[in-house]
């Protein structure tokens, strides 16, 4: 059971790092707007026919 003394710190460090990333994500404003990104992803980029054909030849 001595393995516990090794596993516990790892578990805690892992957990703490997730919390840290969560704090960072919140602070940087990722949870400020939960509506628009979901819609923005649905817009198609304007690709003109020329670019489209170029892409196909490659």
């Amino acid at each position: 059971m001595e393995i516990m003394f090794f596993l516990l710190p790892i578990a805690i460090i892992l957990g703490a790092s997730f919390v840290f990333f969560f704090i960072w994500a919140t602070r940087s404003g990722q949870y400020d707007d939960l509506d628009s990104p979901a819609k923005r992803i649905l817009f198609e980029e304007n690709i003109s026919m020329k670019d489209y054909r170029k892409g196909q030849k490659k």
Partner: protein, 801 residues
């Protein structure tokens, strides 16, 4: 018997149906309702941004009509001066007019059209736009470009905005951190209960202690703050026992762990409590409507440019510089800015602001006109008799703003109960402390007393209300019923009287062809041609109704056209004399007495009869008959007495309960005299009453100010939503009551165990989540029997009738 409508003409840009033919501006095959929409269409078209219409159509949404008024954005420049000093400036502005995906798309594409704009990002949740601009361009210039597209930019109160942003973020942070800490503490708690001992037990306990520190000192701070605030107001809130339990639980555990080396630790219970309550409160906030909580309405038109006439000279001025006695000229379609005395000949005004009736009314020279009315005839000259900020409309708006800021909050049921609860627990604790102190020693007495306080923590009580609210709010939202805050639901359950507005609420608010006899293509055509010559409002409504089933291209030539003053119009067609207008007394159709009837006479013989009127909404009779059983129903309308009475008769509402000719002030005074009133309305003329009622419900395409004054918003204008709302509010109340009973009985068990000294952390750890779980379960189940009863009742009635 109604005319079968063909698809109406719709504006290419805003996709709204075009009611008046005069509004049509034809351009190739495109039809526009106004010059504003036309401009926007051409801007988009010339910049290859027509995809806007594809996105919008796929969402089946309607763009707002473009309001083309001269606006002055120069105030924005001074506000954002500081930000503009940098090379590339990033600013955040409020946008008005966003309502669908297509708007989002267009606004984010705007840098392609607008010079000097590098980036535009929309935040739909807050309705703000983040702009990055060159410092060569002024903010006001950008704002003008946006207004050409039909969106209005406004400055944000930056401090307030940042605070709002910050509090939202920290709320999420608190929930996240509490959740993470709770999850980990639970792991150690379970292994401890499962029988960890020796080194492991000690280690696990210390880890739990460390993990619970952020919960007690960071996550729970809102509870401490709100209980201190409540104490300052000399009130006890549900947060007080929570805070006491959290703090005491933590320090007692700490004391037990370090000094006593005992196993009486409550870290797991505390963190579960904090996490659950934080989460449920957050959800309540998510489900209450943002639109109704916006602290922002703008009626300020004082920067608008106005044309004044003085000794035959035309001078342009800002509206706020205009003083009493000046003569102002405004054009067709504009909203009057001032109260004044009419100086033009006969004109037509849409006075819905004051009367709620959207059918234009004729006014003569010398009559009073009010700000907010919309001009329907060509142009108007009037003498201002009140400055812009003193007009009847501005006064109304000011009053409503005051009201919505000071509307008293009701004390929630849970808070009321928790007050008694706190007293009861405190006296009990003191009593038990004295008793055990006499029986044993101080040590035992202190431990027992603290255990009682912790165990009696009304965790489930604190959960009982928000959970029930979340469930109801979500249910309501699914039916497109939006609620201002949780108070609203609790207030709804005690409603006793319901006051309804007529136009737009009970009726469709449109002048429609209700009845026509006979259906004859030729006579319709004749009517249409005759009415085309007339500018009378009724003539215009009839014409637009007739046009739906007519082929406009075929023409009939009129000879000797004459307008008979306040009677109708006449002309010769193929040597027959035709007259269209007021019916002869003997021809009036008794069935439609209260409506407007128009007859077409051919050589003095009635050949065709048209009945025009505002029809009652389909669901209205059903709703009223349902509500009449439990509530007092009143109608309060700005319309004429006969019309209101006839509507009341059709809905079988007592004559004594109908009030006609009501001004906005009358309506609000009436609402104040009723007991627990719920007001339903849609216009500015209802707003004051909406604000003064216990619950204000605004319906359909209500105006901003009505929204601000109300507590409930029904965008789809379905009347049956109201009975649903009242039903749900009753259900919510019964669920809350049951939840409270559940939680109190658990507390009772816990306290008994604590007194008898049986309580161990294990019991607490089981009891607390168990009580919370049972409350959650009881909330999910709801009160299906209450709902079923109602549905059964309704279906019974359906069978009988």
């Amino acid at each position: 018997m109604t005319a079968n409508p063909k698809p109406t003409l719709r504006c290419t840009h805003c996709h709204q149906s075009i009611l008046n033919e005069i509004e049509i501006i034809k351009d190739d095959k495109l039809i526009f309702c106004c010059h504003g929409c036309e401009t926007v269409y051409h801007i988009l078209n010339s910049n290859n941004l027509n995809q806007f219409y594809d996105i919008r159509n796929s969402e089946l949404r309607v763009s707002p009509r473009v309001n083309q008024s001269e606006r002055d954005f120069s105030s924005l420049d001074s506000i954002y001066q500081k930000a503009q000093a940098q090379n590339k400036c990033h600013i955040e502005l409020k946008v008005e007019g966003i309502h669908c995906m297509a708007c989002l798309w267009l606004l984010e594409k705007s840098p392609e059209i607008i010079d000097g704009l590098d980036l535009a990002r929309i935040n739909l949740e807050k309705e703000t736009i983040h702009l990055c601009l060159d410092n060569s361009k002024k903010v006001s210039h950008i704002a003008e470009e946006f207004s050409k597209l039909g969106y209005t930019l406004r400055a944000i109160d930056t401090d307030n905005y940042k605070r709002g942003n910050g509090s939202n973020r920290s709320e999420i942070l608190r929930i996240g951190i509490a959740g993470a800490a709770l999850g980990n503490i639970m792991i150690y708690a379970v292994s401890n209960y499962a029988g960890a001992d020796g080194h492991y037990l000690k280690l696990f306990n210390y880890i739990s202690l460390i993990l619970s520190i952020p919960i007690v000192f960071y996550c729970s701070t809102p509870f401490y703050r709100s209980s201190i605030n409540a104490l300052r107001l000399k009130r006890l809130s549900i947060d007080l026992p929570l805070s006491i339990a959290i703090v005491l639980g933590f320090f007692l555990s700490l004391y037990n762990q370090i000094i006593m080396a005992s196993e009486h630790l409550y870290y797991d219970s505390i963190s579960a409590l904090v996490f659950l309550i934080l989460l449920s409160r957050y959800l309540v906030r998510v489900f209450t409507s943002k639109a109704l909580n916006s602290d922002y309405t703008d009626f300020d038109k004082s920067h608008q440019i106005v044309t004044t006439l003085k000794d035959g000279l035309i001078i342009k001025k800002k509206a706020m510089d205009i003083t009493k006695g000046e003569q102002v000229k405004q054009l067709k379609g504009e909203t009057l800015l001032f109260d004044g005395i009419l100086n033009s000949q006969l004109i037509q005004l849409d006075k819905s602001v004051i009367t709620g009736e959207s059918i234009p009314i004729e006014s003569k020279r010398g009559e009073e006109v009010y700000a907010g009315s919309i001009l329907k005839s060509e142009s108007i000259e009037y003498i201002v008799n009140k400055e812009i900020h003193d007009s009847r409309l501005s006064t109304l708006v000011k009053e409503i703003n005051l009201l919505s800021n000071s509307k008293t909050k009701t004390v929630l049921l849970a808070d009321k109960i928790s007050q008694y609860f706190i007293y009861a627990v405190l006296t009990l604790t003191i009593f038990i402390f004295m008793y055990t102190y006499n029986m044993h020693n101080l040590q035992v007495a202190l431990n027992t007393a603290l255990a009682i306080i912790i165990v009696s923590c009304p965790c489930a009580l604190a959960l009982a209300t928000p959970l029930a609210f979340v469930r109801s709010l979500k249910k309501l939202q699914q039916r497109d019923i939006f609620i201002k805050n949780e108070d609203t639901l609790e207030k709804c359950s005690s409603i006793k009287s319901i006051i309804l507005d007529k136009t737009g609420t009970l009726t469709k608010g449109k002048f429609e062809l209700i009845y026509q006899s006979p259906h004859d293509k030729f006579y319709d055509q004749v009517c249409y041609e005759l009415e085309r010559q007339s500018a009378h409002p009724i003539a215009r409504s009839l014409r637009s109704e007739l046009k739906k089933n007519l082929d406009i291209s075929s023409t009939i030539t009129l000879q000797n056209f004459k307008e008979v003053k306040s009677k109708g119009v006449s002309a010769y067609i193929e040597n027959h004399y035709y007259f269209l207008g007021v019916l002869k007394n003997e021809d009036i159709n008794q069935e439609y007495q209260e409506y407007t009837q128009i007859g077409l006479y051919k050589d003095h013989q009635l050949v065709s009869l048209y009945v025009l009127g505002d029809q009652i909404k389909d669901q209205a009779p059903e709703l009223i008959s349902e509500l009449k059983e439990d509530y007092n129903i009143f109608i309060s309308s700005g319309d004429r007495e006969e019309v209101v009475k006839s509507i009341a008769k059709k809905l079988s509402i007592n004559k004594e309960n109908t009030y006609s000719h009501q001004s906005p002030e009358d309506k609000s005074a009436f609402v104040k005299t009723r007991e627990n009133p719920l007001m339903i309305g849609d216009g500015i003329n209802d707003s004051l009453a909406l604000g003064n009622a216990d619950i204000g419900v605004c319906i359909g395409g209500a105006v901003d100010i009505a929204l601000k004054a109300s507590d409930v918003y029904l965008p789809k204008a379905r009347l049956d939503s109201i009975s649903y709302l009242l039903l749900i509010s009753k259900e919510t109340k019964s669920v809350i009551k049951r939840n409270i009973i559940f939680s109190l009985s658990y507390n009772l068990i816990g306290i008994t165990l604590a007194i008898t000294g049986f309580i161990t952390p294990l019991y607490a750890a089981i009891l607390m989540p168990l009580s919370s779980l049972s409350v959650i379960a009881s909330t999910i189940i709801g009160s299906p029997w209450l709902v079923k009863q109602k549905i059964l009742k309704a279906s019974d009635k359906g069978e009988i009738s």
